[in-house]
């Protein structure tokens, strides 16, 4: 827990000089109480994960002999390699990549297109469109399931795009619903962001006769890089973490992305908590990488969407 990416500098907030404080006595006892509370909470918060790590590192023979709630006599990474091969995790990871990468790219492309038009041109339907896109992302996923299931099992797809010949049980189907579902949130965030870019920047290009496409692709998008980076981080995590769409719209277990395959894996390793823990932690690796490297981006994306109109 030492390699933490610092969150936004002023979120943590060093006390600015000159801020007034209560008298020294109450300040110190208050601070000790605060730290005591925070330490207890932090330990409680870490215990489930630390326990999982501990269990995953113990050989099955050790836990069988001494029980799980005991001092480990030996530690090993064997459970990880076992889970990796036995659970066919590389294949499942690849399924996740095939869904997450196109979904993130296309979502950002679509959302930035809509956001650009909404932010830069006065349409009669601007507000209605924003409302439509934003609200769609807030619906519980299950509300949409019945008609989606009907659509997915009835729409034919060329066989080079889908082994099943229909949208149901195909990678492209899961990619499509992820795009549709996430675009709303990104339109909302990006249109707000684009409004903060001064119009004058594109004004000059307009005089030069730049087309709408040039203004979008060459002038506006590069200025949106911070927002796009934050959203890309957020979307990658969310789509990688999505459990529901592939669970309900795919039926072939080996085609499912890794998060939706968790249930099958849990069933497979049900008799062996050591393997199950190792498997769970392997699945967590991609988001833990984001957590350690891109936590700032992730939080920026999250708060951009929810705290600023």
């Amino acid at each position: 827990m030492t390699v933490l990416a610092p969150p936004e500098s002023d979120t943590a907030g060093g006390t600015p000089a000159g801020r007034l404080h209560p008298p020294v006595g109450t300040r110190r006892s208050g601070r000790i109480a605060t730290h005591a509370f925070l330490i207890v909470m932090a330990v409680l918060w870490l215990i489930p994960l630390l326990w999982t790590v501990y269990v995953s590192l113990r050989p099955e023979s050790d836990t069988n002999q001494h029980g799980y709630f005991s001092i480990a006599h030996s530690l090993t990474f064997h459970n990880y390699s076992e889970a990796w091969t036995q659970g066919q995790l590389p294949h499942l990871f690849w399924n996740s990549v095939k869904i997450t990468v196109p979904a993130v790219i296309i979502t950002l492309f679509f959302a930035s297109c809509v956001a650009f038009v909404v932010a830069r041109f006065s349409f009669r339907f601007n507000l209605a469109m924003l409302l439509l896109f934003t609200a769609g992302n807030l619906l519980p996923q299950q509300v949409l399931l019945a008609p989606l299931f009907k659509i997915y099992t009835n729409v034919q797809v060329p066989s080079f795009l889908s082994d099943s010949g229909e949208l149901y049980d195909s990678t492209i189907g899961v990619v499509a619903i992820n795009i549709a579902f996430q675009t709303g949130f990104c339109v909302f965030v990006l249109s707000n962001f684009m409004r903060t870019i001064p119009e004058e920047i594109t004004e000059a290009s307009l005089v030069d006769g730049a087309s709408v496409w040039t203004r979008y692709w060459r002038l506006t998008l590069p200025l949106c890089r911070p927002a796009l980076a934050a959203l890309a981080t957020l979307l990658t995590t969310w789509i990688y973490n999505d459990f529901f769409w592939a669970l309900s719209l795919m039926t072939t277990g080996k085609n499912r992305p890794i998060t939706s395959a968790i249930q099958n894996l849990a069933g497979e390793f049900a008799q062996n908590d050591n393997l199950l823990s190792a498997c769970a932690l392997i699945i967590a690796v991609p988001v833990l990488v984001v957590y350690f490297v891109l936590q700032r981006q992730f939080i920026a994306g999250l708060t951009l969407g929810s705290t600023k109109g």
Partner: protein, 312 residues
């Protein structure tokens, strides 16, 4: 990047934006395409289905075969016969109550404490934020290892892992909803904390100083000064709390498929539709119930967000 970058400039919006009419033909085609493709996808896969759910709920639709209208029969069965419906409603309500009474205040408390610039604030923040990154399905698995009756940590601490007498945290229908709510809180608290921290950052320290000069103590300072100025974010968090409790699904599904004490509306819909019987009409009726309830927080959110934009 800071969240502040999202604040629009003061220039009036109307004047800044150009009318579509002054564009060339090619530009107009480009603009139309940029809007229409995402819009069609959104309508085909989000709003179309949301509306279609309502129609399907008045039919006997199944996976295959013709569809017949059955009037309000599905709703009647849901309300009066289905033994899972009212427990599911109760569980969704309990989920909301728990989030409102425990997870949200706890997240707010952590944010307020950590915003004071105490030592190690960033490390604490990162620890509480860690579960927010994990998928709920994975959280369900991690806690299964903790709750396991024979091999788990909690029963290990309690020194009772004997089959038969050991507490089955996730299996006992009187207990398992609370066990799962602990898992949900583990994640939700960090989420609320991060949102409040962002809100507090925008809080003007001069207000706090003024109150302190007037002799306000920490408690008064929070309730009389900080909390009221956080009103916009309080509303957003209230909305998120309601939506997250209506969306609750992954944890119960991973644990036992949403049965035996863990019934939720979302899980009932999924069971009806993805099971071999594929009762699409019936599942739609429950979907409509969930849709109607979730429109309340959604509309609230839209009004708050877009009214704020208009004020700018």
């Amino acid at each position: 990047m800071s969240a502040d970058t999202a604040t629009p400039t003061a220039a009036p919006r109307r004047r800044r934006r150009r009318s579509v009419r002054r564009l060339t033909g090619r530009d107009r085609v480009v603009i139309t395409l940029m809007i229409i493709v995402p819009l069609l996808l959104d309508i085909a896969l989000i709003w179309g289905p949301a509306v279609a759910t309502v129609f399907l709920s008045f039919t006997d639709a199944h996976g295959i075969g013709p569809i017949h209208g059955v009037g309000t029969q599905n709703y009647h069965v849901v309300r009066t016969i289905d033994p899972e419906f009212w427990p599911a409603v109760r569980h969704n309500v309990l989920w909301l109550v728990e989030f409102t009474v425990i997870a949200t205040p706890l997240g707010m408390l952590l944010a307020v404490l950590l915003d004071r610039g105490i030592r190690g604030s960033r490390i604490y923040q990162s620890i509480f934020f860690l579960p927010v990154m994990l998928s709920l399905a994975l959280i369900g698995i991690i806690w299964e290892v903790v709750y396991s009756p024979q091999f788990g940590l909690i029963n290990g601490i309690l020194h009772n892992t004997k089959p038969g007498s050991a507490i089955d945290w996730l299996g006992d229908p009187k207990l398992n909803l609370w066990s799962v709510l602990v898992e949900a809180t583990w994640r939700q608290t960090g989420y609320v904390m991060v949102l409040y921290l962002a809100g507090l950052k925008a809080f003007d320290p001069a207000l706090r100083e003024a109150a302190q000069i007037d002799g306000a103590n920490g408690w008064q300072l929070f309730w009389k000064v900080t909390f009221p100025t956080l009103r916009p974010i309080n509303i957003v968090i209230a909305v998120i709390t309601v939506i997250e409790s209506l969306r609750a699904f992954d944890l119960v599904w991973v644990t036992n498929g949403g049965t035996n004490g863990l019934e939720l509306l979302s899980a009932m819909i999924t069971q009806d539709i993805t099971s071999a019987a594929s009762r699409i009409g019936y599942g739609s009726a429950i979907g409509v119930v969930l849709l109607v309830i979730s429109l309340v927080p959604i509309v609230t959110f839209l009004i708050v967000q877009f009214r704020r934009q208009d004020e700018r």
